[in-house]
C-alpha cells in the first residue's frame, strides 16, 4: 500500500515538469512586452530597455529558463514584476479567499447533488427524476457570469439579504466571512450540482439493477439502507471521479466568479497578472494550480482502493 502511494507520488513529478516547460514557453511566445507595460505609456525607449535589463528579459530564452528552473527547484517562484514581492508570498496572501470559495462550493455541491442523484435514480422516470434532468441541462447551459449577476440582482439588490460584492477575511468574524461567500459559492455550485447529480443518478441507477440490490431487499432491509449501503456504496467510484474533475474545473470557474464578486483571490490574481504580462506571477499561479490538480487526482486514485476492495495495485 505504502509502496503504491509512493509510486503514485513519484509519477506526478514528470507531469509537473512538463507543465513547467509548457508554461514557460507559452508565455514567451505570446505577444506583449512586460517591460513596456510596466513603464507605462509615457516611457521612453531607453527607460523600457533599462526595465527590461533589470528584469533579466534581455537574456536569451534558454538562459531565462535555466535561471527560472534553478530557482524553482529550491522552491523560489521569483519576484512579481508588478507587485514587487515574492510570488510565493503573493499566492499565500491570495490563497484564503480562493480556498474558502472552492471548499464551500464543493461541499455545497456534493451535499446537494449526491442525494438528488440518488433519489432521481430511485424514482427513475418519475417527476423528480425528470425535473432534476431538466435542471441539470439548465445548469450546464447558464454561463457563470450571467447567473452571478442574476443572483446579485435578486438576492442582494431586490431582497437585500446578502452583500453584493467583496470579501471579508475569516479573521474579521465568521458570519461576515460566510455572508460574502454564500452567493459566489451558489453561483459556482450550479454547474457542479448539475454534473455530479447526473453522474450520481447514472451510477446509482446502474448499481440498482445489480443482483445484490435484490438480495438486500430480500433480506428485508429498509429502502434507505438499500440505497445508501448497497446502491450508493457501489456507485461511489464514478461519483468520486467526477467530484475530482469538478475540483479541477473549479479552478477555471473561480477566475470569472472572483471577478464578478470582486473577491481578491487567486482567480483575480491570475487575471491581473495576465493583463500586466507579469510572467513570474502567471507561471507561479499556473504551477500552483497544476500542483493542486495533480494532488486532487492523486487523492481520487488513492480513494478507489478504499471505495472498492476489489481494486488492488
Amino acid at each position: 500500500m505504502l509502496n503504491f502511494i509512493a509510486r503514485r507520488i513519484l509519477a506526478t513529478v514528470p507531469v509537473l515538469a512538463i507543465v513547467a516547460v509548457l508554461v514557460f514557453l507559452l508565455l514567451r511566445l505570446t505577444p506583449g512586452d512586460p517591460a513596456a507595460i510596466l513603464a507605462g505609456d509615457a516611457a521612453s525607449a531607453d527607460q523600457i530597455a533599462r526595465i527590461r535589463i533589470s528584469l533579466g528579459l534581455d537574456q536569451p530564452i534558454i538562459v531565462q529558463f535555466g535561471i527560472w528552473i534553478g530557482h524553482l527547484v529550491t522552491g523560489d517562484l521569483g519576484e512579481s514584476f508588478y507587485y514587487k514581492i515574492q510570488v510565493a508570498d503573493l499566492i499565500a496572501q491570495r490563497l484564503e479567499p480562493t480556498l474558502s470559495l472552492a471548499t464551500l462550493t464543493i461541499l455545497f455541491s456534493v451535499l446537494v447533488s449526491v442525494p438528488l442523484g440518488v433519489i432521481a435514480a430511485w424514482r427513475f422516470g418519475g417527476w423528480f427524476d425528470r425535473a432534476l434532468m431538466g435542471f441539470s441541462v439548465m445548469g450546464f447551459s447558464i454561463p457563470v457570469f450571467v447567473l452571478a449577476y442574476i443572483l446579485i440582482w435578486i438576492v442582494s439588490l431586490k431582497l437585500g439579504w446578502l452583500p453584493v460584492q467583496g470579501y471579508k477575511r475569516v479573521a474579521d468574524g465568521f458570519w461576515p466571512y460566510l455572508q460574502h461567500l454564500i452567493l459566489p459559492s451558489i453561483t459556482l455550485s450550479v454547474i457542479f450540482i448539475a454534473l455530479i447529480a447526473r453522474v450520481t443518478r447514472a451510477s446509482v441507477l446502474e448499481s440498482l439493477g445489480e443482483d445484490y440490490i435484490r438480495t438486500a431487499r430480500a433480506k428485508g432491509l429498509r429502502e434507505s439502507q438499500v440505497l445508501i449501503r448497497h446502491a450508493l456504496a457501489n456507485a461511489a467510484v464514478p461519483i468520486v471521479t467526477v467530484i475530482g474533475i469538478g475540483i479541477a474545473l473549479l479552478i477555471g470557474g473561480v477566475v470569472v466568479t472572483e471577478s464578478v464578486y470582486a473577491i481578491p483571490g487567486l482567480g483575480r490574481l491570475t487575471v491581473d497578472a495576465v493583463l500586466a504580462r507579469d510572467f513570474p506571477t502567471i507561471q507561479g499561479v499556473i504551477l500552483f494550480f497544476s500542483l493542486v490538480y495533480v494532488g486532487v487526482n492523486l487523492l481520487v486514485d488513492l480513494s478507489y482502493v478504499f471505495l472498492d476492495p476489489r481494486i488492488r495495485y
Partner: protein, 547 residues
Amino acid sequence: MSALADAKVSGSGPVLEVRGLTIALPLGSDRAEAVSGASFSVKRKEILCLVGESGSGKSVIAQAVMGLLPNTLPVTGGEIVLEGENVAHAGRERLRELRATRMSMIFQEPMTALNPVMTCGDQIDEVLREHTQLTPEHRRDRILAIVREVALPEPERIIASYPHQLSGGQRQRIMIAMALVLEPALLIADEPTTALDVTTQAQILALVQDLQQRHGMGVLFITHDFGVVAEVAHRVAVLRLGKLVELGEKNAVLKRPQHAYTKMLIGAVPSLQTHGRAAEGASEPVLRTVGLCKTYYDRGWFGRRREVHAAQDVSIEIRRGQTLGIVGESGSGKSTVARCIIRLIDPTAGEILLHGQDIAKMSAAELRPLRRKVQIVFQDPYRSLNPRRTVLEAIIEGPVNYGVRRDKAIERARQLMDLVRMDPASLNRYPHQFSGGQRQRICIARALAQEPELLIADEAVSALDVSVQAQVLDLLEDIRNRLNLAMLFITHDLRVAAQVCDYVAVMSQGRIVEHGPAAQVFGAPRHEYTRALFEAAPGRDFAFGSA
C-alpha cells in the same frame, strides 16, 4: 396475527400455500399473464421443486411470494398464504418484516448476488441488525455459528473477507447462511446451483437438504434441471407458460409423467448413457495438437511473477466425421484449448497441426487463408451476434471477406438457413427478433458459411433450455454427418457429452486427466477425477432420455 401465532405453535399446516395465483404481464407482452391461476403448497420439512423452462414464470412466482415483484407485474388474483397469513397484498412494511425472518431467498448467481464492497460478515450482520435487538457480541456469535453450520472453513477469516476473495461455492454458502440466520420457516431457492460446477453443485444440494431437515423448513426450490429435481425434490410442480401443468410426488412425476409437456421435458434430458454409435477410427485427422501449453504471466512491479498454467501438455486429435468432447469444470482450461486452436489466443508452447501443417506459431498473414477452415460457435447466443447487423449480413460477412461474390454468398446463406432448419425469409431480420435457440442456429449457420473442416462448439448449448438444447444437439449431429465435419465439443455437462461425443477428453487444472472413446470413459472411468465428476452428476440414478 393470531392465525400466524397458532401456525407457529402447532407446526401443522403448510408453510406456504399458493392458491390461484395470477400475475399480469404488461400490455404488449407475448402473453397476458406471467402466471395464470397457479396453486400449490409447500409443507414443513418438504422440498417442492418448481420446474420450468425459461419464461415459464417460475422466478416470477418466487418473487411474488417474497413481495419483490416490480410494479409492472401486479398480482391480479389469488392468495399467497405464508404460515396462515395472506401476504399477496400485504403492505410494504409487513413484507419487509417477514423477509429474512419468516421467508428467505437465495439466488442463482452467487458471484453477483453479494455486495462486492461489503465484507461477508457485515452482510450477514445487516440481517440481524435490521430484524433483532441483539447486542454486537451476540450478533457476532450468531454469525460465526451460522457460518460454521454452512460448513465454511475458518469462519473468522471468512466473515472478514469480501465476496471476490471467496469461490463460487463459498459465496453460495454465505448466501445460505444469510438466508437462514434467523431460522425462517420458508426458504426459496431460485436456481441456486445453476451457475456452479457440478462437484460444487453436489455439495450445495447436500447442504440445502441437510439444513432443511435439521431446521424443519419448507423449501421452494426453483430449477430447470431435472437432474437436480431427482436429487432434492420431495414433490415436483411443472410450470409451462405460467400454468401449472403437473404436480405430484417426485417418483410419480419423473417416472410416470402424465402431462405431454412433462413427458417432453423429461424425454429431452440427455441420458448419461453414451449413444453407443461405433466410432470408425480410420478417417483422416483434421487437427492435432501436440503438447499444447498456454501460460499466463502476471507481472508484478518488482519482478514478482505469478504463472497460471491454463493449459498444459494438451495433445488431442480430431478426425473427419467425428466429435471429440472436452469435458471439465470452470477453470479446467477447456475453453483455453479451444481458443488456442482457432488462434484467438496464442499458445505458449506446443504444436497445432491442421492437416499436418503447424499453425501454432504462424503469423496473422500466414494464418489468414487457413482461418476459415476452423470455425467456432460460442456459448451465449444473446451476445455473440452483433445486434445492429441483420442475420444475412452476419452470415455472409465471412465469405465476402474471403472473396466470395455477394450474390453467391447470399444464395449460400439461404441454403444454410434451410440446413439449420430456419426460414430463409427471416434473413433480413435482426438478432433480437429471435429466441435463444434460433440465435444459436444462426451462429451455426454463420460458422458453416465459411465451409469449415473443423467446427468448435464452446458450450454452445449450455445457455439453452433443455427442449431447445435437444433440438440444437440433434441439428449439430445431423450437420456433422451430412458435411462430414470434424467437431470439437467443449462442455461442462456430462449428459450432453455422453450424447454427442465419439471421443472424450476430461480436463482438470489445465491437464487432460483421461482420454478415450466416449463409451469407455463413461462406462469405466479410470481417473479418480472423472469418477468424482460422475459421482456429482445430479440425478444419475434416474434413467432420463429414455422416456
